[in-house]
């Protein structure tokens, strides 16, 4: 195992700020024991913290440092101040990547969560049936396979000879058939279809499990009071699965902003940067164009974006619980 065994405990905060537990021993002794316990606790936390600090926190700091330099990874770096950030937020190609990521939220998050919500509501009544149990397994398969595989499978389905066009031709819609991933107008939504296909199963199962926890007598009462299905949905179901929706939205929004695998195999960002996203742009900047500074500035912007979107979402969707 690669873990450092002689872990140095992180420094405790010294002073004993917390309320003391009732203790039989003298004050000094309990303080001594407390300190010993803290040392032990930090010794246990240390290996995990070291790995995290070295392979996650340190790269974040280095990223921030690189982002102020012009560097090709080999020669000496030159300080450029905020130039890289200016580039990320003003160059049309780079801004375009950020905008694409936000458009992907529509397909990766809003569409699957909405679909899952409607579908879950309609199948609520048969949630315990054998068919629903089978569906739970089947709908989870896209969650288990690598995203790269989903990308490869769907690039074939969405190609000009693929299943999607075959079905369209079969119903007489020859006119709309095209190479969906190669068309400027449809490439991003087509990538979105792949993401939606991956996410909808997880959202459905999650929301459904929330719905089965809602007290059935609430529905009975609503029906006796003459509430229709729409009213029922908005006043009982929706508030009941609020927490699950919050989770689905958070997970899928992150998957949209940080998308990489699917697009890497399906379109490589094309046609003409139409499906370029921050993750892919960072990869190209760092490992093909050798613009380490710009890549790092973009990384910092991406991390900030994710936090800026996720934190308010958490507040909005979860905050008023408990």
């Amino acid at each position: 195992m690669p873990a450092p065994t002689s872990a140095v405990p992180a420094p405790g905060l010294g002073g004993d700020a917390r309320p003391r537990r009732p203790s039989s021993g003298s004050r000094a002794r309990s303080r001594h024991r407390r300190l010993g316990g803290d040392l032990l606790a930090y010794a246990l936390v240390a290996p995990a913290a070291l790995f995290y600090a070295f392979f996650v926190l340190r790269p974040i700091v280095t990223s921030a440092q690189y982002s102020f330099y012009d560097w090709n990874g080999v020669s000496t770096a030159t300080w450029v101040g905020f130039d890289n950030y200016v580039a990320v937020l003003s160059e049309p190609k780079l801004v375009g990547a950020i905008l694409n990521a936000f458009e992907l939220i529509l397909y990766f998050s809003i569409v699957p969560v909405g679909l899952a919500l409607v579908a879950a509501n309609l199948i609520r009544s048969i949630a315990a049936s054998r068919l629903a149990t089978a569906a739970r397994t089947v709908l989870f398969i896209p969650q288990v396979i690598p995203l790269v595989a989903a990308g490869i499978i769907w690039s074939w389905q969405l190609s000009s000879d693929g299943l999607v066009n075959q079905i369209l031709r079969a119903v007489g819609l020859d006119a709309v058939t095209r190479a969906w991933l190669g068309d400027f107008g449809t490439a991003l939504p087509a990538v979105g279809v792949i993401g939606a296909w991956v996410q909808v199963g997880l959202c459905l199962v999650l929301i459904l499990s929330g719905m089965t926890r809602i007290d059935a007598s609430l529905y009975e009462a609503a029906r006796l009071d003459g509430a229709g299905p729409v009213r029922e949905f908005f006043s009982i179901t929706l508030p009941g699965v609020r927490q699950e929706i919050a989770i689905c939205v958070t997970v899928t929004v992150i998957s949209a902003l940080a998308s990489f695998d699917i697009i890497y195999v399906a379109t490589q960002g094309g046609p003409g940067n139409r499906t370029l996203v921050p993750g892919l742009q960072i990869f190209y900047l760092a490992f093909f164009e050798r613009e380490i500074g710009t890549a790092s500035a973009f990384s910092i912007v991406l991390m900030a974006l994710v936090i800026a979107v996720v934190l308010p979402l958490q507040r909005l969707l979860r905050g008023r619980e408990s």
């Binding site: 913290a49 396979i145 490869i152 693929g162």
Partner: protein, 274 residues
């Protein structure tokens, strides 16, 4: 609950449609894999003569045995170590709760939403300077670190929910911290630990970005990384690409179908806490 017949029929229909949408791409993949290598078949079209040998061909050109071996070695490097580190840290933060535990925990939580692309550039240079670029360690060591926010949060939540009375009773009986940990907390945490192991297994197996950036040789990568390379080489030969993709997917699907209950509940809980 009052359920009309119509509601049941609508529900069944929707479920079947959703399942079809999920499964049809796999069917198309399978049928296409049976066409003659190098041909351009339609979406779903049974070939005149099924070319089963495509699977053999893909198996050889993808070097499946080496790929499997490589993925398993990476799993062995990541999962046990990450689970162990997270369990220790989770016990420390969730049960022992030293002074400042909250602050440390918040630092871990900060990493929960981190996109891997955010740190891949400096990570590349860091790994290069360690001299482990293009080895499996280049995937194993960073992944352990990257999994820590989730894994520690997960195990901390588990230890925090174990009733305090249980630990206090044991303390009164003179149990040492080690005894408390090993004899009381660990046995109660088996479900949480096994779910965590499943999730980490899956995320390691499917890890793509680290694999393609830090390891040039596909035979030293994870399954997902190897699949990317396979697409690069056989992208134009659609039947062969389909056969190869299916082969690369098969181990995951088998493991999933064998442990599906555990998988589904682990993934559900994982997203609940993540």
């Amino acid at each position: 609950m009052i359920v009309s017949r119509r509601e049941k029929i609508i529900g069944r229909t929707i479920l079947v449609v959703l399942m079809l949408v999920t499964v049809l791409p796999f069917v198309s993949l399978f049928v296409t894999a049976l066409h003659e290598s190098g041909s351009y078949p339609q979406g779903i079209e049974w070939p005149e003569t099924p070319h089963w040998e495509n699977f053999v061909l893909a198996f050889q050109s993808a070097d499946m045995f080496r790929l499997l071996g490589s993925s398993i070695l990476i799993e062995l490097g990541v999962v046990p170590a990450a689970v162990l580190l997270a369990t220790l840290a989770g016990f420390g933060l969730g049960h022992l709760k030293p002074v400042g535990a909250r602050a440390v925990f918040i630092v871990f939580i900060l990493g929960l939403t981190l996109p891997f692309e955010g740190i891949i550039t400096p990570l590349y240079f860091q790994i290069r300077d360690l001299g482990i670029l293009n080895t499996r360690w280049a995937i194993i060591l960073p992944l352990i670190g990257l999994f820590m926010p989730f894994a520690v949060t997960w195990m901390r939540a588990n230890f925090a929910t174990i009733p305090r009375e249980l630990s206090e009773a044991a303390r009164v009986d003179g149990a040492s911290t080690w005894h408390l940990f090993w004899r009381i907390h660990i046995p109660l945490s088996v479900p949480a630990i096994s779910s965590l192991a499943i999730l980490l297994f899956l995320w390691t197996w499917n890890q793509f970005l680290l694999a393609i950036v830090l390891v040039a040789d596909p035979a030293q990568r994870t399954m997902a990384g190897a699949l990317g390379a396979f697409q690069g080489r056989y992208g134009t030969d659609i039947p062969l690409l389909c056969a190869g993709s299916l082969l690369i997917l098969t181990p995951t699907l088998i493991v999933f179908l064998l442990f599906q209950r555990k998988f589904v509940s682990a993934l559900l809980q994982g997203s609940l806490k993540g």
